[in-house]
């Protein structure tokens, strides 16, 4: 899942090497925490959060098969 998030985000930013995904497992959900270079924050959020929304839609769809709920935190 971390690999998927990186695959999605890296081509969208100017500093692909600064894309980091950490995961934290909790009782009923897994939280993925995405951080990017401060210059790229706008590029992963987009106008009115449209890009962030698209990233979440794809990631949540990919996680539909997993037992736990997943959650994507950006920055």
């Amino acid at each position: 899942m971390e690999a998927l998030i990186e695959t999605i985000v890296q081509p969208l930013v100017d500093h692909p090497e600064d894309v980091r995904v950490n995961s934290k497992e909790e009782a009923s959900k897994i939280v993925y925490h995405l951080t990017v270079n401060p210059d790229d924050v706008g590029k992963v959020i987009g106008k009115n959060g449209r890009i962030a929304k698209s990233i979440r839609t794809v990631v949540y769809a990919a996680g539909a098969n997993t037992k736990k709920r997943i959650y994507l935190d950006i920055m």
């Binding site: 695959t7 999605i8 081509p11 890009i51 929304k53 839609t57 794809v58 769809a61 990919a62």
Partner: protein
């Protein structure tokens, strides 16, 4: 990124040999001359071969296809991406066994993928491309469904003489509804609300 370093008697020879190795043409590569070479006396003494570095240029359309393929691979191992280019509009058709996962409810996953590819491709080029990401003919099926829905709700609007609102849809789906009903003189259509809740309203004409 593919690149080779080639040598030849002249710069031109070296470039030609590199192009053969990369199996491409001159307009699709960047050429970097490392050494121009020397003819030497009588072409024998002190002759130095020309060395060039030839790099295949990034092709954003191809990159986007690979991007889609990589994302799709997480859902299912075997997904094909077929690219159709028509002027400035590019159509990516995904196919595979469990493609339903990639379409999502009312195509929301497919629409998200399409949006991401749009952002990615227009970031790397100055040309504006129109991107359509389709899976197993989903867009066409959806179009037929929407047209049927449009006609049904138009009849309803005429019958109850009240405005009928549809659920929120992305712009290209709203367009399908507007075009389906543009010749129907008994009703008018317009869009109301702001993204992402913008939706079509069918209003009976008076």
């Amino acid at each position: 990124m593919k690149q080779v370093t080639a040598s030849g008697q002249t710069v031109e020879d070296a470039v030609q040999s590199a192009l053969i190795q990369l199996n491409t043409t001159e307009d699709q590569v960047d050429i970097d001359v490392i050494d121009e070479g020397k003819k030497g006396v009588l072409g024998i003494f002190g002759a130095k071969r020309a060395i060039v570095k030839v790099k295949v240029k990034d092709d954003p359309i191809e990159d986007a296809a690979n991007y889609l393929k990589q994302i799709a691979a997480t859902f299912e191992s075997d997904v094909q991406v077929q690219t159709t280019i028509d002027g400035k509009s590019i159509n990516y058709e995904l196919s595979g066994e469990k493609i339903a996962m990639l379409i999502g409810k009312r195509g929301q996953t497919l629409n998200a993928l399409q949006h991401l590819v749009q952002v990615m491709i227009n970031r790397s080029t100055n040309d504006r491309y129109r991107i359509v990401v389709d899976a197993e003919g989903y867009r066409n099926r959806r179009k037929e469904t929407l047209e049927q829905l449009a006609h049904r709700l138009a009849d309803k609007a005429i019958k109850v003489r009240k405005n009928v609102s549809l659920e929120p849809m992305p712009s290209y789906e709203r367009k399908i509804i507007h075009s389906a009903l543009q010749d129907n003189e008994k009703i008018e259509t317009f869009s109301d609300g702001s993204e992402p809740n913008r939706h079509v309203v069918i209003k009976p004409a008076r």
